[in-house]
Symmetry: C2
């Protein structure tokens, strides 16, 4: 049944020198991946680029053509290093304009916070033809232009924007997953894992080893868009591990 | 002085369905970025792709041509979903061979751990012509092929491999940075930041806002490869913020 299924895909461009310098630990990849999955959309590719217009434009143009949706995070604030809107407008070949509703939102937000300034008005600039994505947290909206969704770098603000988008994007069936944990070196059950995956078309089994408190273990994650297929594969894997004398931990370790 | 400076660059391909599904929070981007900076090499681009040979090959071939060094993480274990070595060998057009020293290392490591098996021997397979990168933690080595460095997905193992590589790669001057924190909305000092950056060629100033305990603040990170240039820019920025009535926090908030 998986063969004929339409898979909706997305890509993400994470924009920011602070990620590439290692100063900031990115949290948007995992956050957006999890959210997309709930929408029935699969994150297929991520690129991280610096605050450089050419790099942003190249990544955006390569990925927006390949996927149903393209998300970006970072570079939409009020300071000189926030160049995402200009870079994307240039990439898609439209001018940057001030969005009147975004301007009104910012003016309202800043009434009690020192008033509007030129720097703050930068956050009302959008590629021409864009729609806004609301953000109750900081006044500055996210931006939708075609299949491009321009989000904040601060994870908590992007969370608000994702919340505002929830349920509005067309997707397919979410990718379901179940996890079985096992205190075993994955190399000891490698053949068993491969054979189990082969016996259940439409399922993928990922093996994720770890070392904790001096012990070796692994979590096996089974993924499928079909609940019955997933359940059968999960039960089979647990049975094969038990038959091999391995104790399993439902839900993972 | 920055104009004539040769900048050594690197890219990173993070390989793994678990990152794209959001199950696992990547830690290798920040870890490798920080390590590269100590070697005087700048991380310029990162791509995250799934466990799919075509996607891995495309990313590897695009990036190895553009940068001095290309790192990959993930997909070098013993299980069926570990396809990085095969995908990279295919991408660069060489066969996969068993590396005799890697085989000996694995045999030695597994003497007290149940002995060598076909699955474990998978971790001795390399693209023909490769050298090994040692890893004291798990017996399975990393792999160097030309300018490609193939590392583990488990961050602690990659840390060991980076340790083994430290000081062996040619690089330039490390990018230095200093941070000034300020309890201010970045939009209130946006012009000041831009003007300061402009006054100090060879420096970049990044502005990273946050919201903590109901308060708005920002950290300003000044970056340069030259210590004197960096120090002058840092002092100027602190002076301008103080002149504007803003208290600053050395080292960031």
């Amino acid at each position: 049944m998986a063969a004929a299924e339409r898979i909706w895909t997305a890509a993400l461009v994470v924009i920011g020198d602070e990620i590439l310098s290692g100063r900031t630990q990115d949290k948007n990849i995992a956050q957006i991946a999890l959210w997309l999955n709930l929408q029935g959309i699969r994150l297929v590719e991520v690129r991280v680029v610096g605050d450089a217009a050419v790099a942003i434009a190249e990544a955006v143009n390569a990925l927006r053509a390949r996927h149903d949706y393209l998300f970006t995070t970072g570079g939409i604030g009020p300071t000189h290093d926030d160049i995402t809107v200009d870079a994307i407008a240039e990439a898609v070949g439209v001018p940057v304009v001030v969005h009147s509703r975004a301007r009104a939102m910012l003016e309202r937000y800043y009434i009690s916070r020192g008033g509007i300034t030129d720097a703050r008005l930068r956050m009302a600039r959008v590629p021409e033809g864009a729609e806004l994505i609301e953000n109750r947290m900081s006044g500055a909206p996210g931006i939708r232009w075609g299949n491009i969704f321009i989000m904040a770098g601060v994870p908590a603000i992007t969370a608000m924007m994702l919340d505002a988008l929830s349920g509005t994007l067309e997707g397919g069936r979410p990718l379901l997953s179940e996890t079985i944990g096992c205190w075993v070196a994955e190399s000891e059950v490698a053949d068993l894992l491969g054979a189990t995956e082969k016996a259940h078309p439409g399922c993928q089994i990922g093996s994720y080893p770890f070392f904790r408190e001096g012990r070796t273990g692994a979590n096996f994650v089974i993924r499928s868009t079909d609940a019955a297929t997933l359940g059968a594969c999960r039960a089979d894997l647990a049975a094969r591990l038990m038959a091999a004398g391995r104790e399993t931990v439902d839900g993972g370790i």
